[in-house]
């Protein structure tokens, strides 16, 4: 997939992932990678950005004698998902337009 497109999608994928339930770094990388292969280094700036934008919040929980950072989606983040879904009609229209250009 085109890297720019991928970049744009990862953010919503992560938000959706967190809307299914709170998660931590490694699990997010694994889940996202099942559709959009990413590395830890790609994920970090995205998580950081979502956090500064107030779309996710973090908290630490004990796991096997160490602290693990969990990410939790915020109302702001849910709204961002909704906006993305609403704009999908436009994306489909663009997709159709591009498709027609090849077919004709």
């Amino acid at each position: 997939m085109d890297t720019q497109l991928k970049k744009g999608l990862i953010e919503y994928y992560v938000l959706a992932n967190l809307n299914y339930g709170d998660s931590y770094g490694y699990e997010i990388v694994r889940t996202v990678s099942s559709h959009l292969p990413i590395t830890e280094s790609t994920l970090y700036p995205i998580l950081k950005r979502l956090e500064t934008q107030g779309k996710v919040k973090t908290y630490s929980n004990e796991h096997n004698g160490r602290l693990r950072k969990y990410y939790k989606i915020q109302p702001n983040g849910l709204e961002s998902i909704r906006n993305f879904l609403e704009s999908w009609e436009k994306v489909e229209a663009i997709h159709d337009y591009i498709k027609r250009s090849v077919e004709e």
């Binding site: 931590y24 770094g25 490694y26 699990e27 990388v29 590395t39 830890e40 280094s41 790609t42 970090y44 700036p45 950081k48 950005r49 500064t52 934008q53 096997n64 160490r66 693990r68 950072k69």
Partner: protein, 198 residues
Amino acid sequence: MSRNRIEFIKELSNQLSYIMKPNEVKELVDYYDEMILDLMEEGLSEEEAVSRLDSPEKIKESIKGTPLEINLPISKKFSPYLMALLILGFPLWGSLLLALALIILSIYIVIWCVPLTTGTIGFAGLVGGLVGTVFSPLALMDGFHIGITQFGLGLLLFGIGMLATLFTVSISKKVIVKSQNLTNHLKNQLLFKRSEKR
């Protein structure tokens, strides 16, 4: 090359410390440390887990490219409390600032003292020597030996003046360079502390 976890973390903190603030470095290092521990829990060995991640050099490069959000609310607008505190604290920070400015000024003065001194000697020598030499015939009226002595001393003074002027010119160039360096250094230190991050 396989690193263990501690080596990886040390290397990563080291690389990042040049481009990020300490608390950002800590956050990023914690993130990667958690990744390593989670990978190890999946059954990977320490070295395997570390090698699964990007190298510290690569991480540094990827971070450089992405603008990390800096929290700006403080610099964007001053809260009234902060303003009040700044005004009330003026006698303290104002005098400290003044002291700092004066120290910096005195450094410049001390540096410029050398060319100023030699320049003065040069000017005095040239003018005094010239006048002394030119008017030495008048001193002949007081006696031949006095006139000759004045002529000789005048020439000597003129020579010293020339040497001092040459020295001033050459040292001034160096002092100008030194002053510029100092100014640039101070500017970088005080104003653009974060410029390296860009």
